[in-house]
Symmetry: C2
Subunit: 186 residues, 2 copies
Amino acid sequence: MNYPSGINRAFKGQTKYSNRGMSLEDDINYTNEYYLQNDIAVIYKKPTPITIVNVDYHSRKDAVITKAYFKTPSTTDYNGIYKSRYIDFEAKETKSLTSFPIANIHRHQIKHLNKVYNHGGIAFLIIRFSKLEETFLITYDTLQKYLDSYNKKSISLAYIKENGYPLSTKYNPRLDYLSIIDKIYF
Amino acid sequence: MNYPSGINRAFKGQTKYSNRGMSLEDDINYTNEYYLQNDIAVIYKKPTPITIVNVDYHSRKDAVITKAYFKTPSTTDYNGIYKSRYIDFEAKETKSLTSFPIANIHRHQIKHLNKVYNHGGIAFLIIRFSKLEETFLITYDTLQKYLDSYNKKSISLAYIKENGYPLSTKYNPRLDYLSIIDKIYF
């Protein structure tokens, strides 16, 4: 479901150099490409789930989808393998300056991360405060403790700063989230 | 790219009871659903990768894709986690009575399985001889040995029978491929 807002984002001016008009999704895709090329990890973004309503095909190779809808994803956007471990995460941006709205993550995505965690996988969120140009990694474990302890609609930036891990944007890899995973899990 | 042929298949008559008009993809999806509901594993089919050319949207919630193409997948169709291990596989059907054509698997899908294997994941193929109603699991390891040893365009059914594992179709779970994974890896 990121596609429509992604299009809008592309038309908006980006002024600060460090962000260079890149969305969090772009940063992660470039990073995953770097991990793949350097044989560090095999992590991909899943294709956008859609419901196909109509397909025209003159030949089998020449199919054109002429009607389809975006579907609510049942899992997270990213998964793969790193150092023999199953990795699964969701990445979200917020324009808020003070907190991350929990509604930004679908309920079944949290449920999915919970299942991954229970089956022994490494599950986490990457959250970017786009106006502050600050990005954090927060483990599913921490997220779950927060959700169990507080009945709030958002997680404050202060809480994320205290319980998450800052991720800086570099040239290459752009967003080295596996360096944080190394610190926590290996 | 399974969608166009999938549509064709749906219109073809199925006579034998054991197959009940189900494609291999259906069998695996039902099986994964069973694994998920019974908290055995978290394995999903990835959405069909498409290239979106045109989207009409009156409102942000009401987007309609009006032009898109099927894209060649860069990875396999299925991945997930089982007993803390990363699982990755591709499933293919063939109408041949004697051998499985290697061209049925994209070259980059084999490369992907190779990477998964090298990073410590469990990588395999599920191959169905649809006219024979016989289904087999063959590990990436075995596939790679075959590709390294023989310069052939297909793998004979006899070789698959000798080096793979037969998978029978049951009521529920329909195609219990994790029981084979248990035997090989756990």
